[in-house]
Symmetry: C2
Subunit: 200 residues, 2 copies
């Protein structure tokens, strides 16, 4: 059996959103599954010594332009939120709580959360918005809501971020397949070529 | 007549090298000319507040891996030089001195200088190496050599870097066509699609 593709993303990452809309279909074309990992870019950026793209002079304006232009090319609805970037701990916690029950529902939640933030202008830092999306994804909201603020799930998210760091992840989206790392939505064509050829 | 594509590059930029090997053929497919502009990333990085990719923890290792992997995919010879990045003032000065006589020879010099540095491991900070490449490009070496250290050409390079900054350039390679900016070798597919469709 072919090994899965690992896919790391932060819910506040525009290119992560664009990749989330594409990765499962790409993987399926090559008989691969995708393991999704919600991460928090803040701690990763500290290690790498970088900052959110849009906070950088000159480069930030270009990045905002490129997010929208790339989304239009892909036919994916996108509008840079007024509040950007935002802290995505609550969404990440919900993601893992759902994933423990169903990875399919967790992916569906992630896609809904991304669209809520980047296409519908909703505030995904708000627990009630997150719980609405949990319900929409078909997950058991009543079991999840009381756990959203628990120490256990906070530690779980920290553990997932640490695992990502150990795997060499430093941005979003980030992919790994058969040990090979790919960073960025713009590397999806390389990732697909890698799957097609088995490397080069 | 269709307007030209502007192409900014630093001689120490691996992705600039990969783009330099492709941009004229890409432009020709769409009836466009390319205006090449040698720049120095140092002053640009100061404005943006960033640093050479390979100096960043974690991200640097990935970048070195991605340079070589992208080059292999494109069939372009590449080996990350032992001295990297390097100061590219001398090569940039030679480029503009040649360009004042012939833009075709200047492009040929740029391609030779990139290959010398990234494929042949030669030291392009060395004036004698640069002069060898000037001669190989068919330019008038005897007229250029005495000007390589002149105040006039130093000012010219500073002026070109300032012009790039005013045009919103913050990295290498950087392209602009019909007012639309594209940053990175990985945006060449978008640039080409833009030419094909006239935007989207």
């Amino acid at each position: 059996m072919l090994s899965a593709i690992d896919f790391w993303f932060d819910f506040s990452s525009p290119y992560g959103y664009l990749a989330a809309e594409q990765i499962d279909a790409l993987a399926a074309r090559h008989g691969r599954e995708v393991r999704w990992h919600a991460i928090l870019l803040g701690p990763l950026f500290k290690v790498v010594g970088t900052a959110p793209l849009t906070t950088l002079p000159v480069k930030g304006d270009y990045a905002a332009h490129d997010f929208a232009r790339t989304a239009r090319l892909l036919g994916i609805p996108f509008a840079l939120p007024n509040q950007f970037p935002v802290a995505t701990q609550v969404a990440a916690r919900a993601f893992y709580l759902i994933q423990d029950e169903s990875s399919g529902q967790a992916k569906q939640f992630a896609r809904l959360a991304y669209r809520a933030y980047f296409a519908e202008g909703r505030d995904i830092t708000d627990g009630s918005v997150v719980m609405d999306l949990v319900a929409k994804a078909g997950a058991g909201a009543s079991a999840i809501e009381p756990q959203l603020g628990s120490e256990a799930i906070k530690q779980r998210v920290r553990h997932e971020v640490d695992s990502a760091l150990r795997a060499g992840v430093f941005g979003s989206p980030f992919f790994k397949v058969d040990g090979e790392p790919f960073w960025g939505n713009d590397r999806l064509p390389h990732l697909e070529e890698w799957l097609r050829r088995g490397g080069w």
